[in-house]
């Protein structure tokens, strides 16, 4: 039975990675999951310098999901290279680094710093709704997305994968812009912008007012966008948004994703990633499917 898939020349031993920002750099979940058994570990967004992130309250629970406005707190690329990459290598994990920035210069700086690192794939986060500058601005305008993609691609030693925002009118337009700019793969979706109000305090629950919605509740939107993007461009897609079970993951694969990320579900169940992998294996056994690639995009 073959579970391995290929994302822009990078072989993943199975199609399951982690949602950036939900899994740190793997250290904390290492207690629950053998990181070398994952398709890859996708790390929390890292910038050129340390970012303090947003004030608290940073998370809120909503029906079937959650909002977050962490604001991309991260220790900066120096610490990341010194501490997190060696840890992940030691643990035997394939590595997808999520890169964030406020300007083109920031992104390029991080990408250049990573060029001699044992990193498999770069996921470029242009879709974080929780930081004022940069972030989502690049992710909501096809022209800006094209430009940043081109700039990053020019300097990247590893294949790049632009991470798309779902907060757009037409996801295919964004997917095309990223691919035209040179993105070797795409990942989607990042979070949907949402808001929660505490009616007793008559105030926003999040200090940032709005936050990014994730978890099971957003899955139908994510599956739709992955399907649309997969049918609009010819690069592999890592699909995500609400995946908590193997059934969820299979929906994304059938819609056209080559691999999937498990994000918020880790908070519901720290072994969610492994449970998804095992569930996919069970499905393949039950349906006598020899190669996972047979399922990718099989629903048209």
């Amino acid at each position: 039975m073959n579970l391995s898939v290929n994302i822009a020349g990078v072989t993943m031993k199975n199609p399951v990675t982690t949602g950036s920002g939900t899994f740190g750099s793997g250290q904390e979940y290492n207690e629950f999951v053998d990181l070398s058994k994952l398709g890859a570990v996708t790390t929390k967004g890292v910038a050129n310098v340390p970012w303090p992130g947003n004030p608290t309250t940073r998370v809120a629970e909503v029906y079937g999901g959650m909002l977050n406005a962490i604001g991309l707190q991260n220790p900066g690329i120096d610490v990341f290279i010194e501490r997190d990459i060696p840890f992940l290598k030691e643990a035997g994990a394939s590595i997808i680094v999520n890169v964030c920035g406020k300007s083109e210069k920031d992104y390029v700086e991080v990408v250049e710093r990573l060029s001699d690192q044992p990193v498999d794939l770069l996921e470029i986060n242009v879709s974080c709704p929780n930081v004022k500058e940069g972030g989502i601005a690049f992710g909501q305008d096809p022209k800006a997305l094209y430009e940043i993609t081109k700039a990053v691609k020019a300097k990247a030693a590893q294949p790049i994968m632009m991470k798309l925002s779902p907060n757009v009118t037409d996801i295919t337009e964004m997917a095309k812009a990223a691919v035209e700019g040179g993105s070797d793969a795409l990942s989607l979706i990042n979070t949907l912008t949402g808001m929660k109000i505490d009616i007793e305090k008559r105030d926003f629950v999040l200090a940032n007012k709005t936050g990014g919605m994730s978890g099971p509740a957003i899955k139908p939107v994510a599956v739709r966008m992955v399907y649309q993007a997969a049918n609009a461009v010819d690069v592999p897609i890592i699909g995500m948004g609400g995946i908590a079970t193997a059934q969820d993951a299979l929906e994304f694969l059938m819609a056209g994703a080559t691999a999937v990320s498990v994000g918020t579900a880790n908070f519901m169940n720290p072994t969610a990633t492994m449970d998804v992998i095992h569930g996919i294996e069970d499905y393949m056994r039950r349906h006598k499917i020899e190669d996972i690639n047979e399922l990718i995009g099989c629903v048209k």
Binding site: G21, T22, F23, G24, Q27, E28, Y29, E31, F32, K44, P50, W51, P52, G53, T56, T57, R58, V59, A60, E61, Y63, G64, G65, M66, N68, I70, Q73, P75, G76, V79, G215, P216, T264, N266, F267, M268, N269, P270, T271
Partner: protein, 255 residues
């Protein structure tokens, strides 16, 4: 040591006071490792609520493999938890966080409101001389009797219906409580008062903090508090309450 997620059977649940519940669960793998001041993540049997509720460990029985939690109904999740009955199972993850670092010096244990329960296991384990200061809203002095078997208990109530009228600091002053180290859990304003009191009296103070959480294990960066110095993990002035805490040296954090 490692954290475990288990389906724990509820062995008993009773109400201690209006809206305050006392639950004991069977969770051997967590109980054998648990320390005073740690907490567990409690999942609610309602699929619309995906995040766990952090609840401090109030009692640990390693022989029986049980944990005791005492919690207040604060919203829908804890309300649903309070309607669970013995025999039902709940998903829990733990033990989480660092717990109190137990020292030998003469201790002052301070609990305020729903910060009282985690002090009980500490009171039981700390073998040194100690005074226990409990701050309540009114005369419903939940858990007070149990604390009395572990040390001298001093009480404050907001409405003055028992002990010193006022807060725990008022009680400490009025009732002449002394010691060289403080262990405390309670609402932020109380912790702020204790931090100031400890600085003034040059005492060590270990305070247990609260923040909204998602992962509960240090991965998501939801639950940070502000640290005085640049934190060695985050490289910014943020510490994770769930992993670096919930217990902090009061001098390390900004409140």
């Amino acid at each position: 040591m490692s954290k475990k997620q288990v389906m724990a059977e509820i062995l008993s649940q009773t109400s201690l006071a209006d809206g305050i519940y006392d639950m004991t669960v069977k969770a051997e793998e967590i109980a054998v490792q648990a320390k005073a001041g740690q907490f567990i993540s409690v999942y609610i049997n309602d699929k619309s609520k995906i995040l766990p509720r952090p609840i401090s460990i109030c009692g640990i029985n390693k022989e029986e493999g049980t944990l005791r939690i005492v919690y207040r109904v604060a919203g829908e999740g804890t309300a649903q938890l309070s309607s669970c009955e013995a025999g039902e199972k709940i998903k829990i993850l733990g033990p989480l966080g660092n717990g109190f670092t137990q020292k030998k010096e003469k201790a002052v244990l301070i609990g305020g409101g729903i910060g009282i329960p985690p002090m009980l296991e500490l009171a039981k384990q700390l073998s040194c001389e100690k005074t226990i200061v409990l701050g309540y809203r009114d005369s419903r002095l939940f858990l007070k009797d149990e604390f009395e078997s572990y040390g001298t208990v001093v009480v404050s109530t907001e409405d003055g219906s028992a002990g010193t009228k006022g807060n725990v600091i008022d009680a400490i002053k009025e009732q002449g409580v002394e010691g060289s180290i403080i262990y405390a859990c309670g609402p932020t304003p109380m912790l702020r008062g204790i931090k100031a009191y400890a600085e003034e009296h040059e005492m060590e103070a270990q305070i247990s903090m609260e923040e909204r959480m998602a992962c509960g294990i240090g991965a998501c960066l939801a639950c940070v508090c502000q640290s005085k110095d640049i934190d060695s993990h985050s490289h910014v002035h943020n510490k994770r309450v769930c992993k670096d805490g919930p217990v902090f040296d009061a001098r390390e954090v900004e409140l």
